[in-house]
Symmetry: C2
Subunit: 214 residues, 2 copies
């Protein structure tokens, strides 16, 4: 499992890297050696990221249920969004987003499974003793995350924007992978639900804000 000193080393590296020119944000895996993201050993890293104003960009690694996703490239096609869903649920239910109210977290692949299962997470929060500690429904945290446009389907991207707001969605590409988008800007321009202002936010404005480039 996780060596106990690793989060301390990560914090030291974050403090070092934050002083380098051009550094604007950080990547974090959707779990760390199967330790979920609400583990208290990570909270000093979150506190530092919040203090720096750095967005945490999540991306899956060693995805959930590897032994069930060995064929048909399911470890990526399903495993990636599945892992992002576990990470988002851990941050919500584990109190990380409450403890760090200004922390920005970006969920890849159009939020993985979070948008499509938010009703189920809300219902569970209303009825299950495991979630009796929650003061708000998971859907109240949807706008605490930002999302990318890698839904690979106009309707899925449109549903996401309707759910979380155009100002919480940023252009994704997954360049240079075969699972990336051939025409990322075109995918946004085809969504005729968007005003020009909303389109500009998705195509750069919100990313500028997240990266402190305004």
């Amino acid at each position: 499992m996780l060596p106990m000193q690793a989060p301390d080393l990560a914090l030291k590296e974050l403090e070092r890297a934050a002083k380098l020119p051009g550094m604007r944000g950080m990547y974090l895996a959707t779990h760390v050696n199967n330790v979920e993201l609400d583990d208290r050993r990570f909270w000093d890293v979150y506190a530092k990221a919040e203090e720096l104003g750095w967005t945490i960009f999540l991306h899956p690694i060693d995805t959930i249920g590897r032994e069930r996703t060995t064929r048909y490239y399911l470890k990526n096609l399903l495993g990636n969004p599945y892992d992002t869903g576990v990470a988002a649920a851990s941050l919500i239910f584990g109190g990380v987003l409450d403890a760090f109210p200004k922390l920005e977290v970006n969920l890849p692949h159009a939020g993985g499974t979070l948008p499509g299962l938010i009703g189920r997470l809300d219902h569970g929060t209303k009825v299950r003793p495991e979630l009796a500690h929650m003061k708000q429904l998971p859907s109240a945290y949807l706008r605490r995350f930002t999302y990318d446009t890698i839904g690979h389907d106009d309707q899925i991207n449109a549903n996401l924007i309707r759910l979380v707001g155009a100002d919480r969605v940023v252009l994704g590409s997954d360049y240079c992978f075969d699972m990336g988008l051939a025409n990322p800007v075109g995918d946004v321009e085809r969504l005729d639900m968007l005003s020009a202002e909303e389109r500009d936010l998705i195509c750069g404005g919100t990313a500028e804000k997240l990266l402190g480039l305004e």
Copy 2:
């Protein structure tokens, strides 16, 4: 793993049960002892279900990634729809729906992760060598399944109906569990996108057809 004789026993039981009065369909887990649903050992069961005109109603059990979903009731909230997604992908990519063109399969919990990740499955099918055998995109199989209304969110249910068609969605309840719906018919009646005819299909007409009760 799966004892080799189990599918033979299942087939014998199916043949026996099919002769009992009132039997109209069958339940199947989303995997069988971690053997996925496209395994050839199950195909005689599918052939018999197709011959009988029986719908196979899937439901998750021993869900994917148990060790990652032990807290916050995630084994149900995420694990159930995750497992249904693996099952649906296995039936599509493993050729079961091609081999049994009249087989009806119902996916619980508003289709689990399938509707929200269909764009990703389509894209993967276009670019990945693991899926070079596919003659159609996964989205072409969406209407091969039926789905229930247990999305726990009006927008999620509406998105599903828009994606697969009102005639492929049937009323769900999950009665008598706490994850069930308090007012299943009300959840359908609130969807003002539906015509009266579509509402009647969801609230009973399609289920009558699937169960041979017309």
